[in-house]
């Protein structure tokens, strides 16, 4: 890849990084906290691309010719012959994420990824603050599972709980209400599954997002092999919702 094409590739890469981080699309791939760094990185890439482009165009020589003296092509000369055999030919691969983001824009992780691993373990916690006074009280799946397991449901009893997540099939029948927990990016996503007891509206299918309200129940699924514990919610009402901008917890 010659200098000018390298600059164009960088421009495209910086462009898609800015495009996804200025909209909410980046939330499908990484945590919200990374946004300022993504924007900064996108700006740096665009600036470097444009500045090097201007420099090359001013410098001289046909931009689409071979290396001809342009400094960055030193390593292509190392080959002795020809160009784009090694070294910067790897740069062609950088177009892959550009195309993947720009054209395909892969969706957030869903029930397929959730089914591939057991429900994530929740951290042991010794003390639990009482739930806020709202009714129903909206909770994250992690908070609900943590209180159900380590607080034995004490702070949950007698309250109406509201959970939001997508449906993923429970192997023994029915659905889990699932959220994917991210620490950094979708590669480390782990599902938190809450079993749903009681009636769900008809016609729901995997990957549909719902908001469910209901009460704590002592029912739990245990998997000895993976030491996985899945807690349940007795659903009193549920309705489909549009997926939130931040699909992960």
């Amino acid at each position: 890849m010659n200098s000018l094409a390298q600059s164009v590739t960088l421009l495209l890469l910086g462009g898609v990084v800015l495009r996804i981080s200025l909209a909410d699309v980046y939330l499908r791939y990484v945590k919200e906290g990374l946004r300022p760094y993504l924007i900064a990185a996108g700006v740096v890439l665009v600036v470097v691309a444009i500045a090097t482009m201007i420099r090359d165009l001013r410098a001289d020589g046909p931009a689409d010719g071979p290396a001809d003296g342009l400094a960055d092509e030193a390593e292509e000369h190392d080959d002795g012959h020809g160009h784009s055999h090694r070294g910067p030919s790897i740069a062609w691969l950088l177009t892959l994420p550009v195309f993947a983001i720009f054209l395909v824009a892969p969706p957030a992780l869903g029930s397929y990824a959730a089914a591939r691993s057991g429900s994530a373990a929740v951290q042991r916690q010794a003390e639990f603050a009482p739930l806020p006074h709202a009714d129903p009280v909206a909770m994250t799946n992690v908070d609900y599972a943590t209180r159900a397991i380590w607080d034995k449901g004490t702070s949950l009893r007698g309250r109406t709980i509201r959970l939001t997540g997508f449906l993923s099939p429970r192997p023994a029948g029915g659905f889990y209400l699932t959220r994917i927990l991210l620490s950094c990016c979708a590669a480390d996503g782990r599902p938190i599954k809450i079993g749903l007891d009681g009636e769900l509206p008809a016609g729901l299918k995997a990957d549909d997002w719902i908001q469910a309200e209901g009460q704590y129940t002592v029912r739990q699924d245990h998997n000895k092999a993976t030491r996985e514990t899945i807690v349940f919610l007795t659903v009193t009402s549920a309705h489909p919702v549009t997926p939130p901008a931040e699909p992960y917890e």
Partner: protein, 341 residues
């Protein structure tokens, strides 16, 4: 008189002068343009390719690995370019002990100051070697920086609440592994395995131009290898069934090996791996320590980046050695600090 050279020139110059034959093939910019047009035209087919849940998940994991790494890669490249352009080689000669045996541990511990994950440390180590830092010291820094910086240690503390020994064990095992690898390189390493990190020839450019040339070169180069790593890691991430893991968790020895291999295959960022380790609760703490020590030092993405920066001959020797040393140090540290199994 003028006729003869003019006659000769067309016959002899095409094979001799490099620019001539090039006119016959399209330049990279034309190829790139055609590629863009083709991809846009075939958009429908490409999108359809990714409608199956497995392919969509694969694409999501691939994109997120790359997107997650880009800020750190850009930071690392920027620091590396700043070093290349603005820090005189004499600075490192003064900052590091002149005896390589001592420079290795000093550089290893200096890893504490680089907040970030492993994608940034490879270009920085490349920049250090270019600036005349002894490779052994640069490698100690390369290995330790992603594992022992404050961001990663805090993440580890959060992921393992009430277990400060895990943070300490991670710090100790990572620092020791990095220093041991530095010393092993001093003793057994050969400079001919090392392709001196390719770099733009910065001579004669203004500082700003030199910075730009260096930054563009490094981003394009390291970025390409990051994509290789991201593709492999996403494939592993989507194809390894998790129940394989549960099957081996009970065997202490196999469990350590299994999690070490898993760390290599998953290529998770070092700032996030502690949370994944915490959720692998069916495994012993020592096995999970091995996961945390191996991951930031060697995984598929890093192997690709190292091969790109220092050459394949280096990477195929350095990576397995790192893997073995990291596991051995983790096991010893686990026995000493985490009460064995």
């Amino acid at each position: 008189m003028t006729v003869a050279p003019a006659d000769q020139a067309p016959e002899t110059s095409p094979p001799q002068a490099p620019p001539a034959p090039v006119r016959w093939r399209p330049g990279s910019l034309e190829v790139l343009t055609v590629l863009l047009v083709v991809v846009v035209l075939l958009r429908g087919q490409l999108v359809r390719l990714f409608t199956s849940p497995a392919m969509a998940t694969w694409a999501t994991v691939f994109v997120s690995i790359v997107v997650q790494a880009i800020p750190f890669l850009v930071l690392g490249v920027a620091i590396s370019a700043l070093i290349a352009v603005f820090v005189p080689p004499s600075f490192f000669a003064r900052a590091l002990p002149s005896r390589p045996v001592l420079a290795v541990p000093v550089a290893g511990i200096c890893g504490v100051v680089l907040p970030g994950c492993e994608c940034g440390s490879v270009p920085i180590a490349g920049g250090l070697v270019r600036r005349g830092v002894t490779p052994a010291a640069a490698f100690a820094f390369l290995l330790s920086a992603p594992a022992i910086n404050p961001v990663v240690l805090v993440a580890t503390a959060v992921a393992f609440p009430g277990r400060p020994e895990m943070v300490f064990a991670r710090f100790a095992a990572s620092a020791v592994t990095a220093i041991v690898m530095g010393w092993l390189w001093l003793r057994f390493g050969r400079s001919e395995w090392l392709r001196s990190p390719s770099r733009p020839d910065l001579g004669g450019l203004s500082k700003w131009s030199a910075f730009l040339a260096s930054a563009r070169h490094d981003v394009v180069h390291a970025g390409g290898f990051l994509v290789v790593g991201g593709l492999t890691a996403a494939t592993m991430n989507v194809t390894i069934p998790q129940h394989w893991l549960s099957a081996v968790a009970g065997h202490e020895v196999i469990a350590v090996l299994a999690l070490a291999v898993l760390a290599v295959l998953l290529s998770i960022c070092s700032e996030a791996d502690a949370f994944v380790a915490a959720s692998l609760s069916q495994f012993s703490l020592t096995a999970r320590l091995a996961f945390l020590v191996v991951g930031p030092m060697i995984d598929l993405k890093l192997f690709a980046l190292q091969a790109g920066t220092f050459g394949r001959r280096f990477a195929i020797r350095f990576a397995p050695a790192t893997f073995v040393v990291a596991i051995a140090v983790s096991v010893v540290t686990g026995l000493l600090l985490l009460g064995g199994a």
